[in-house]
Symmetry: C2
Subunit: 264 residues, 2 copies
Amino acid sequence: MAAYFLDRKIKAVILDITGVLKESGRAINGSVDAVNRLLSSGLQVRFCTNETTVTRSELVRELQTLGFNVENVVVFPPIPAMCKILKERKLRPHLLVHPDAVSDFAEVDQNEPNCVVIGDATQQFTYENVNKAFQCLMRLDQPLLFSLGKGKYYQEHGELVLDAGAYMAALEYATDVKAQVVGKPSSIFFETVLQDACVSASEAVMVGDDIVSDIGGAQACGMAGVLVRTGKFRPRDENHKDVKPDAIVDNLAQFVDTLLSTLK
Amino acid sequence: MAAYFLDRKIKAVILDITGVLKESGRAINGSVDAVNRLLSSGLQVRFCTNETTVTRSELVRELQTLGFNVENVVVFPPIPAMCKILKERKLRPHLLVHPDAVSDFAEVDQNEPNCVVIGDATQQFTYENVNKAFQCLMRLDQPLLFSLGKGKYYQEHGELVLDAGAYMAALEYATDVKAQVVGKPSSIFFETVLQDACVSASEAVMVGDDIVSDIGGAQACGMAGVLVRTGKFRPRDENHKDVKPDAIVDNLAQFVDTLLSTLK
């Protein structure tokens, strides 16, 4: 089964979650129907999120509550990828993450930290907690900083709020250490998703509301990138200095309508 | 009256305060005597600080309590310079500063903010407060961000803690707005001090513990820059990638001994 988009034969659709499917605990207009049609179209569908404020199972449960038929959909959040890296490289993290994400690191040794992992810690981004992460990096001979995504901000209850990327930038500046990003827009992260869907990059399209992490990251891998005018989207994103989306649509429903009309 | 330093005729000594004179509420070993000898040497002495967690008068009072004879010494903190800019340009700031610094902005109109001023807010750097500053910048058609210094960190109670620069970097990253720095290492700030002392840059030497803000900033103006091994100094500062101090001394006392021995 394949659809067509800009002369490309598309076999897989990769969807960002927050700002595309849902926002502040509510489904975005038309997205439930769009996702469910996509899932029954025969195209491969994967969810790819930098969400680190809930566990993967809670995220799926929330989507189901909102009406998304996502029982069998594979969701790619950054934390499992991060844990894999930590175990492989025998790294012991100092965590600056959301309290609800801490349990996802339960199997990782956190004694005598030799690296820092930063996620979207929201209210836990206190001066004290950011200082602790900073001090941990300053104590290390070879400081290592990992960031679960590098998003600048997202929309929550109608307001833009800072994402992990802002605090990553603060720690990078203070310590002169360049963060390694796990999650979007890291190519390794997108390639894991493509491998799981058994498609090449040119056969996949990414739909997201983050011009840099979603669209820029997908395009850097060879995928097409479609920007939605929902979630954190702002008009100035349409003229971003570095990233030009392959298409800009009002919302996910509009893109799915167009794509599925080309299904063969 | 002049002293000699590296073949330069020195008429003025400009001193950073925190990390050079004092640290965590205590005078640094030998600094009280060194400052008092400097003040009675006939050389011009000015204090130049990015301190924004106390008012200027409180700072002078604290130094006096510690034994520094600084009644008639002119202290240059960034807030008065900032207020001057705000008034001249008719700007109304949203403040993200230390509670003790708020009163220094009492005469500045803060209704309907059209810029953000960030200082060393310490515990007030909560997620909520940093978000408010961020949201203010995102609402503005022509966002303006001022930062009172751009220090990475300083030493407090034996530990390094984040300075305003880290949060400046976070806001710059999230908003794509470049901050304008008021305070060290801004050349305008150093030049104000030189004018007050009626000396040219080549006749002045700056002593500080911040390799970038103190030494780099002073050298960029044409002054000599002397790094002390006190305060936030760390051995790796001796091999900084961009800044090479004109001299590195164990502490202020050592520098003053050497300088005053050349007095003519």
